[in-house]
């Protein structure tokens, strides 16, 4: 319904189309010109863009906007089965204030913090190295870094789970034993489990961020570096005063998507612990908690409330972050 209203608004903006869609009292003339006008609609420069974005608009309305609205509605309901829905006001949100949810926020925040700390400086450094024309096998490294992003996170998670097993014979433990470090139970301790999750994330997303930074680096003109060299700047000074400011838009972009990516993490934890349930909730993120409540415990109302909570949290964080980075100032200027 909403879609139709928007669509008719789009079309009525154009005088010609209006004429076609609202054939009031001018039927005779339209009869003659009908064919021509439908052709005009196809070739009209005003209508064509709308037609082209139509598939996106429709899929957005059906697969994004509708579920979002219905999630908000469901977060105020208790859903016991088909046709067995009770409106319960803020009850789901009151129930949300429990230790599990706070633990999930805490774990997810720690995870996001560590991924930001690793996944911005490290790819930046790699990108600068890979951008040097003197580096041998440049293209090989570029694709090698990107490769993990193409693997399924479930497959990668399974590999990490087995590699970080607790036996002496597992990949990581056997390597550590060579250098004299005794075997560790990786996935049943909060700190080591967090380490494995961040490592898995780093392994997968490093290459993607490298690509972002590489494309950013290529937009910085060489003249700036040349000029700096003439003024006697060393490599570090050039990096600090040309590369970093030049990459700022890319850094802000990567930061924004990483905050979102960190807070919506699900698959890594799910694959590492082979279910949404982790021992002592050491790997419970907001989304795995949502999954547990919504699907494993069939409490879709509470699950929806968690989803709304996550949405608010990520929005607030990103707005603060963008504001701190001066994103809104530019718009005012």
């Amino acid at each position: 319904m909403l879609g139709l209203i928007i669509l008719s608004k789009l079309f009525t903006a154009d005088e010609e189309v209006f004429y076609v869609l609202e054939p009031i009292a001018r039927t005779d003339r339209i009869e003659k010109q009908k064919k021509k006008h439908w052709g005009d609609l196809f070739f009209s420069q005003t209508a064509a863009p709308y037609l082209f974005v139509l598939p996106f608009v429709i899929s957005f309305l059906i697969f994004f906007l509708y579920p979002i609205i219905s999630t908000v509605i469901m977060s105020f309901e208790r859903i016991d089965g088909p046709g067995d829905v009770t409106f319960i006001g803020w009850q789901n949100y009151t129930n949300l204030l429990n230790p599990h949810f706070f633990n999930a926020i805490w774990i997810t925040t720690k995870y996001t913090f560590w991924t930001l700390l690793v996944l911005i400086p490290l790819p930046l450094l790699f990108a600068v190295c890979l951008n040097k024309k003197t580096l041998p096998c440049r293209n090989f490294f570029r694709s090698a870094f990107f490769m993990p992003a193409l693997t399924s996170v479930i497959v990668a998670g399974l590999f990490f789970r087995l590699a970080f097993g607790e036996q002496d014979t597992t990949l990581i433990n056997s390597m550590l034993r060579v250098v004299g470090i005794s075997s560790t139970v990786w996935l049943q301790n909060p700190n080591t489990a967090m380490f494995v999750m961040v490592l898995l994330c780093t392994w997968r997303w490093l290459g993607v961020n490298v690509i972002y930074f590489l494309s950013g680096l290529q937009s910085i003109p060489d003249e700036l570096y040349e000029a700096a060299s003439i003024d006697g700047a060393n490599a570090w000074e050039k990096f600090l005063h040309i590369t970093i400011p030049g990459l700022k838009p890319v850094i802000v972009y990567v930061l924004t998507i990483s905050v979102y990516g960190g807070y919506s993490m699900f698959a890594e934890s799910f694959a590492l612990f082979s279910s949404a349930r982790s021992p002592g909730e050491i790997g419970t993120t907001i989304v795995t908690y949502l999954y547990q409540e919504g699907f494993n415990n069939n409490n879709l109302g509470l699950g929806s409330a968690i989803g709304v909570g996550l949405f608010v949290l990520v929005m607030v964080l990103n707005i603060i972050q963008l504001w701190l980075n001066g994103f809104f100032k530019k718009e005012v200027d």
Binding site: L51, D84, N95, P99, H100, Q188, G280, N298
Partner: protein
Amino acid sequence: MKKSWVYVLSIVVLLAVAAAGCGQKKETAQASGDGDATVLNFWTFQELHKGFMDDAVSTWNEKHPDKKIILKTDVYPYDEQHNKLLIALQSGTGAPDLADIEIGKFANYIKGSKPGLVELNDIVDPVKDNLIMGRMENYAKDGKYYGIDYHVGAEVMYYNKEILDQAGVDINKIITWDDYIAAGKQVVAKTGKPMTTIETTEHWSVYPLMNMQGSDVLDKDGNSSFDNATNIKTLQMLKDMLYKDKIAVPAPGGYHHSEEYWAWMNKGNAASVWMPMWYMGRFVQYMPDLKGKIVIRPMPVFAGGRKSVGMGGTATVITTQSKHIELVKQFLAEAKLSKEGSIKTWTLLGFDPIRKDAWSDPAMSAPNKYTDYFGTDIFSTLQSVVADIGPLNVGAKYPAAISLLQKNVCFRVLKEQSQTPEEALKAAGEDLQAQ
């Protein structure tokens, strides 16, 4: 003119894509009406169950040439199948005729006042006397039965005879838990190997022992009974086995279904483990080196407790969305409630049948891969304990309760040791009541 054709074509394609979802459904509906065979859909998460059902269909088609069935089975991963079914039932469309639901998830599907599952009393009631009814109550609500299990899942002890012989322990003399712990100390002293392994991230070690003493995590009304004295005592007993008596080790990988555990156990690293009957399949499949070394015996008993309990389970259900409910009911009754069907759960799946009269049937002692592995006395051992098996208290909060038991109680008490049994069980109880 050419350009406009491109436009028209792209719009047609777009509409075709949009309509594809609706089209598919019509096709299946048509197919089921075609010819003399009825097409039924079945969802499961267990490949083995597909084989069982396919066999049941061919038996059915031989017996009832006038009511032939074609069964289309989809095998999904565990979580995915349960989620898909839940969504299909919630939204009122897209559910199969038949589906498997694991006991830990079952409460989710009969939560509302109008469950999406068909009541099965008219096929269960006629054979009630022959069934181990404790296993039927797990899938019932207000006296209505909604699912039929594949097996009893009797809890038993798997002993590694080689290690116990080495330690000089006679397994037939282990009757009580005190005997078991004493034997464990002897095993540790003589062989240096632990008597058993205890799960720290799942519940298969502690939960059956609670049930054997008549306790549970929920009471009859579905409220928490986490912190009752029996549960605290049981959890303390396991903790003592691990850290005081030192006859047990935490299961490598955290639970008895992890790849690491199977690899470790396969090397003959522990003298025994208690798991339900269906764990036989795991031994045969994943621990081939223990063939001929493992013997099955009844559980050690608690004073005044039960000899065994039925653990785990998967029920086959019929959804209310099925268009052939009567036919599916008749088929399900023949496949799983008849004596022949029940015997097949043993011969095909290696499960302990839910029909009592199947247990004494000669077919049960015929050699197969399980008797090759564990010896021929499996069922004579089990017959002595099966009558003692009662229901669990499976209320609406059961999935949440089991999850708390796994991730919080067992882990914090038995692995992390950050909480005492009493603290952990109290916390879990309060947590569950607040939900």
